[in-house]
Symmetry: C2
Subunit: 83 residues, 2 copies
Protein backbone atom coordinates (compact mmCIF):
# COMPACT_ATOMS: atom_id res chain seq x y z
CA UNK A 1 0.00 0.00 0.00
CA UNK A 2 1.02 3.58 -0.59
CA UNK A 3 0.79 6.20 2.13
CA UNK A 4 1.01 9.98 1.91
CA UNK A 5 3.39 11.39 4.49
CA UNK A 6 3.81 14.92 5.81
CA UNK A 7 6.88 15.61 7.95
CA UNK A 8 7.08 19.00 9.65
CA UNK A 9 10.53 19.76 11.03
CA UNK A 10 10.72 22.59 13.57
CA UNK A 11 13.51 23.81 15.78
CA UNK A 12 13.03 22.56 19.34
CA UNK A 13 11.54 24.99 21.86
CA UNK A 14 14.35 27.08 23.34
CA UNK A 15 16.57 26.84 20.26
CA UNK A 16 17.06 30.31 18.79
CA UNK A 17 15.36 30.83 15.40
CA UNK A 18 16.97 33.82 13.62
CA UNK A 19 14.83 33.35 10.50
CA UNK A 20 11.63 33.57 12.56
CA UNK A 21 12.95 36.57 14.49
CA UNK A 22 13.74 38.37 11.24
CA UNK A 23 10.21 37.81 9.93
CA UNK A 24 8.73 38.94 13.26
CA UNK A 25 10.76 42.17 13.27
CA UNK A 26 9.96 42.94 9.63
CA UNK A 27 6.18 42.54 9.84
CA UNK A 28 5.22 45.71 11.79
CA UNK A 29 7.08 47.94 9.33
CA UNK A 30 5.15 46.21 6.52
CA UNK A 31 1.82 46.98 8.19
CA UNK A 32 1.13 43.65 9.93
CA UNK A 33 0.71 44.00 13.67
CA UNK A 34 -0.10 41.45 16.33
CA UNK A 35 2.09 38.63 15.01
CA UNK A 36 4.34 36.92 17.57
CA UNK A 37 6.28 33.71 18.23
CA UNK A 38 7.28 33.17 14.60
CA UNK A 39 9.09 29.87 14.09
CA UNK A 40 10.27 28.72 10.68
CA UNK A 41 10.83 25.09 9.80
CA UNK A 42 10.79 22.69 6.88
CA UNK A 43 7.90 20.67 5.55
CA UNK A 44 8.39 17.54 3.49
CA UNK A 45 5.69 15.60 1.68
CA UNK A 46 6.25 12.23 0.04
CA UNK A 47 4.69 8.87 -0.78
CA UNK A 48 5.92 5.67 0.85
CA UNK A 49 5.19 2.01 0.09
CA UNK A 50 4.63 -0.15 3.18
CA UNK A 51 2.60 -3.16 4.29
CA UNK A 52 0.38 -1.16 6.63
CA UNK A 53 0.15 2.21 8.38
CA UNK A 54 2.18 1.10 11.41
CA UNK A 55 5.02 -0.10 9.16
CA UNK A 56 4.89 3.16 7.19
CA UNK A 57 5.05 5.20 10.39
CA UNK A 58 7.98 3.15 11.73
CA UNK A 59 9.90 3.67 8.49
CA UNK A 60 9.18 7.41 8.50
CA UNK A 61 10.22 7.76 12.16
CA UNK A 62 13.54 6.06 11.38
CA UNK A 63 13.96 8.24 8.29
CA UNK A 64 13.37 11.38 10.37
CA UNK A 65 15.81 10.36 13.07
CA UNK A 66 18.61 9.31 10.72
CA UNK A 67 18.28 11.60 7.79
CA UNK A 68 15.61 14.31 7.69
CA UNK A 69 16.21 16.00 11.03
CA UNK A 70 19.01 16.89 13.37
CA UNK A 71 17.55 15.42 16.59
CA UNK A 72 19.81 17.59 18.75
CA UNK A 73 18.06 20.81 17.72
CA UNK A 74 15.00 19.74 15.71
CA UNK A 75 11.69 17.97 16.32
CA UNK A 76 9.65 16.20 13.65
CA UNK A 77 5.86 16.08 13.51
CA UNK A 78 4.77 13.16 11.31
CA UNK A 79 1.37 12.68 9.66
CA UNK A 80 0.69 9.45 7.72
CA UNK A 81 -2.45 8.97 5.59
CA UNK A 82 -3.39 6.22 3.15
CA UNK A 83 -3.04 7.74 -0.34
CA UNK B 1 -8.23 36.88 20.66
CA UNK B 2 -5.06 35.04 19.85
CA UNK B 3 -4.94 32.39 17.16
CA UNK B 4 -2.26 29.80 16.40
CA UNK B 5 -1.38 29.73 12.74
CA UNK B 6 0.43 27.13 10.65
CA UNK B 7 1.45 28.11 7.13
CA UNK B 8 2.86 25.39 4.91
CA UNK B 9 4.54 26.75 1.78
CA UNK B 10 5.11 24.23 -1.02
CA UNK B 11 6.30 24.65 -4.58
CA UNK B 12 3.36 24.49 -6.98
CA UNK B 13 2.76 21.19 -8.80
CA UNK B 14 4.89 21.12 -11.94
CA UNK B 15 7.59 23.40 -10.53
CA UNK B 16 10.87 21.50 -10.33
CA UNK B 17 12.04 20.75 -6.77
CA UNK B 18 15.79 19.96 -6.80
CA UNK B 19 15.94 19.60 -2.99
CA UNK B 20 13.20 16.95 -3.05
CA UNK B 21 14.85 15.17 -5.98
CA UNK B 22 18.17 15.06 -4.12
CA UNK B 23 16.52 13.49 -1.05
CA UNK B 24 14.67 10.98 -3.26
CA UNK B 25 17.88 9.93 -5.04
CA UNK B 26 19.85 9.62 -1.80
CA UNK B 27 17.36 7.44 0.11
CA UNK B 28 17.84 4.06 -1.67
CA UNK B 29 21.62 4.17 -1.12
CA UNK B 30 20.89 4.81 2.59
CA UNK B 31 18.65 1.75 2.80
CA UNK B 32 15.21 3.38 2.46
CA UNK B 33 13.23 2.04 -0.48
CA UNK B 34 9.74 2.81 -1.67
CA UNK B 35 9.84 6.58 -1.14
CA UNK B 36 8.66 8.72 -4.05
CA UNK B 37 7.35 12.19 -4.94
CA UNK B 38 9.45 14.00 -2.35
CA UNK B 39 8.60 17.72 -2.18
CA UNK B 40 10.33 20.05 0.26
CA UNK B 41 8.77 23.28 1.49
CA UNK B 42 8.74 25.65 4.44
CA UNK B 43 6.53 25.58 7.48
CA UNK B 44 5.89 28.65 9.60
CA UNK B 45 4.09 28.73 12.92
CA UNK B 46 3.09 31.92 14.69
CA UNK B 47 0.49 33.55 16.92
CA UNK B 48 -1.74 36.34 15.63
CA UNK B 49 -4.09 38.74 17.43
CA UNK B 50 -7.41 39.28 15.65
CA UNK B 51 -11.09 39.96 16.45
CA UNK B 52 -12.27 36.54 15.26
CA UNK B 53 -11.13 33.54 13.21
CA UNK B 54 -12.32 35.01 9.89
CA UNK B 55 -10.31 38.21 10.52
CA UNK B 56 -7.25 36.16 11.50
CA UNK B 57 -7.54 34.06 8.34
CA UNK B 58 -7.94 37.16 6.13
CA UNK B 59 -4.83 38.71 7.67
CA UNK B 60 -2.82 35.51 7.24
CA UNK B 61 -3.94 35.12 3.62
CA UNK B 62 -2.78 38.68 2.88
CA UNK B 63 0.49 38.01 4.72
CA UNK B 64 1.10 34.88 2.64
CA UNK B 65 0.37 36.59 -0.63
CA UNK B 66 2.49 39.69 0.05
CA UNK B 67 5.33 38.41 2.15
CA UNK B 68 5.63 34.75 3.03
CA UNK B 69 5.29 33.15 -0.41
CA UNK B 70 6.22 33.80 -3.99
CA UNK B 71 2.76 33.24 -5.54
CA UNK B 72 4.26 32.63 -8.98
CA UNK B 73 5.89 29.36 -7.92
CA UNK B 74 4.55 28.62 -4.42
CA UNK B 75 1.25 27.66 -2.79
CA UNK B 76 0.40 28.23 0.87
CA UNK B 77 -1.74 25.93 3.00
CA UNK B 78 -3.06 27.86 6.02
CA UNK B 79 -4.40 26.37 9.26
CA UNK B 80 -5.84 28.72 11.91
CA UNK B 81 -6.77 27.51 15.40
CA UNK B 82 -7.79 29.44 18.49
CA UNK B 83 -4.81 29.34 20.86
Amino acid sequence: MTFSVLVEVQLRPGISDPQGQTIEKALPTLGFDGVSDVRVGKSMRFEIDAADEAAARAQVDELCEKFLTNPVIEDALVTVESA
